[in-house]
């Protein structure tokens, strides 16, 4: 690997490249309870998210199909991985924390209960140094929240 892009390793960590190349949750579940599309008209990125609820309204399964850059696909995949097994309320709280991390690089006020999932999403913190790419990382989350809230469309613009 050339050293030319060393300073980009904050953004394109190996885990990002890996999930961008080989997303684990890029699929439409056979059955689902909620779905929404996300659209970023400025750059043409699009995503569709599906959610299946388990007992007590926890997210039993989540999948997506995305068209976009490595950051947006990796973020969608890490999101799905992280929210499966969580309640709607937890997922909302996680979205708020994730959004703050994507914008600022950290989430100092985050609830301690979010430490474990936030650690999993931490590889995406590097986007805060690239303002034009923050929306790539948050698009999937906007779509997921729209699905949980019963909406159909979301935009990261």
């Amino acid at each position: 690997m050339t050293d030319t892009f060393d300073d980009l390793r904050d953004l394109y960590q190996e885990v990002i490249l890996d999930h961008g190349r080989r997303p684990r949750h890029a699929r439409r579940p056979e059955s689902f309870d909620a779905t929404a599309k996300g659209d970023n008209p400025m750059c043409g990125d699009r995503i569709e998210v599906w959610v299946k609820y388990g007992p007590d309204d926890t997210i039993a399964d989540a999948g997506f199909q995305a068209r976009g850059c490595a950051i947006s696909v990796a973020s969608a995949d890490l999101m799905a991985e992280t929210v499966i097994g969580r309640s709607k309320a937890d997922t909302h709280a996680l979205f708020d924390a994730f959004r703050e991390m994507a914008r600022t690089g950290a989430c100092p006020h985050c609830d301690a209960s979010l430490a474990e999932p936030m650690e999993r999403l931490e590889p995406l913190a590097g986007v805060h140094e690239y303002p034009s790419r923050v929306k790539c990382a948050t698009l999937a989350w906007h779509a997921l929240i729209a699905a949980l809230d019963g909406g159909r469309e979301a935009s990261s613009e």
Partner: protein, 414 residues
């Protein structure tokens, strides 16, 4: 390198001295600005002209009975003369100033579309239009009942002339509104042939010259077209000023676009009458400083000369197609024979946005995305491309640097 066969090459090093911004460093690296098709950088003469006007002779135009207003009016109207000369227009009154080419095209859709075209008539565009030459006609279609026809392009990215002519065969087409050079593929459309065919079928022709006028001499009388639109900021001028040129008799027949001051002859609550062209289409305080800046930009371009500009860019294009096309995994979109300084490409296993971010880290500015031409992207089965675009200040070394850096980007996403 076949330097001896190149006619009248530019002294690029000297031209680069004229653009202060090119001395900027990006993250410690020299700026390699390959996004001029989105908006070009500004030479010192443009910056100075606009600052000079604000510092020494600024007032509103066309109405003040005082020294400052008269001087400013003269300077602003000199821009109209400069545009008329640039396009070889017969009459300076045929030059209408707008805010940008999008407004020029909307003016056409409104005043020519609603005022002259009749419901049931058709407008022809091409499959390689910028959204600004698609959406105004869709709005017209919905509100006025015209039909919108799309002339296809070939896999090489050239207008399919047989299909184009077939679209005009039923005589319903009132207007052909087409790009003169694609902002994605770089392809020129064969403007003279388009005009001949359109006129033979009774249609008028409007060209979107946003890209073409930057790279090639445009002579509206030689083209024999009816309307020609371009924007100042891609031609090394300021943002906020665009141009619509049209034949006098056609502009005279068209109703106004925006209403307000400047565009009237007299106003009463019962009835108002319109000013003569071009002022009929120039409601409100015009882009005064932008006009002064545009004139400086046109003078600058004219001082270099389109022969030298076209030769320089042809050389850059040949070099870029050879170098970028030689990278394994890079695919150049569009192989038109007659093309200007734009190269769109994709890289295997890497999204255009990721490519752009990595290039940016090395100081290289390219555009990535759908380039406001989504239907064209879909025509080629793509969602986005990266695009390098060239200007008078672009060097062969910069293209080599792009090539070397892209080779490393490819390794990064391997």
């Amino acid at each position: 390198m076949n330097v001896t066969t190149r006619p009248a090459l530019l002294d690029v090093a000297r031209i680069r001295e004229d653009f202060p911004i090119l001395r900027q460093k990006i993250r410690g690296k020299p700026l390699v600005f390959l996004d001029s098709a989105a908006s070009a950088q500004k030479p010192r003469v443009v910056i100075d002209a606009m600052r000079g006007a604000m510092e020494t002779q600024y007032a509103n135009v066309h109405r003040g009975l005082h020294w400052m207003s008269e001087r400013t009016t003269d300077a602003y109207e000199a821009a109209r003369d400069a545009v008329a000369a640039l396009l070889n227009a017969r009459d300076r009154h045929e030059v209408v100033f707008t805010r940008n080419i999008t407004e020029s095209l909307n003016l056409m859709a409104h005043s020519y579309g609603r005022g002259i075209l009749r419901p049931g008539q058709a407008v022809v565009i091409s499959a390689m239009e910028h959204h600004s030459n698609i959406v105004p006609w869709q709005l017209l279609r919905e509100e006025h009942g015209i039909e919108l026809r799309v002339a296809p392009i070939t896999d090489a990215g050239e207008l399919d002339m047989a299909a184009f002519e077939a679209l005009l065969a039923d005589g319903k087409v009132g207007l052909v509104s087409m790009t003169h050079m694609s902002n994605v593929l770089g392809t020129y459309t064969p403007a003279e042939r388009i005009v001949r065919i359109a006129h033979a079928h009774g249609a008028k022709v409007l060209f979107d010259g946003a890209q073409a006028v930057v790279h090639r001499r445009v002579d509206v009388q030689a083209l024999d077209c009816d309307f020609y639109a371009f924007t100042g900021h891609k031609l090394y001028g300021p943002t906020g000023i665009g141009v619509l040129w049209g034949r006098r008799e056609l502009l005279d027949a068209m109703p106004p676009f925006l209403g307000g001051g400047e565009m009237i002859s007299s106003v009463s609550f019962e009835h108002s009458t319109w000013a003569e062209v071009p002022h009929k289409f120039e409601a409100g305080t015009p882009p005064i400083l932008e006009g002064i800046g545009l004139k400086a930009a046109i003078d600058y371009v004219q001082s270099i000369g389109y022969d030298a500009i076209a030769a320089h860019e042809a050389s850059l294009i040949d070099h870029a197609l050879a170098r970028l096309g030689g990278i394994d995994g890079v695919h150049i979109i569009g192989r038109g024979q007659d093309r200007g300084g734009v190269v769109s490409f994709t890289l295997d296993r890497a999204h255009a946005h990721d490519v752009a971010t990595l290039l940016d880290r090395q100081g290289i500015a390219v555009r990535a995305g759908h380039h406001c031409a989504e239907p064209l992207m879909h025509r080629f089965g793509l969602e986005s491309t990266a695009r390098a675009s060239f200007a008078i200040y672009t060097t062969h070394d910069e293209i080599d640097y792009l090539t070397d850096t892209l080779t490393r980007v490819r390794e990064f996403f391997k």
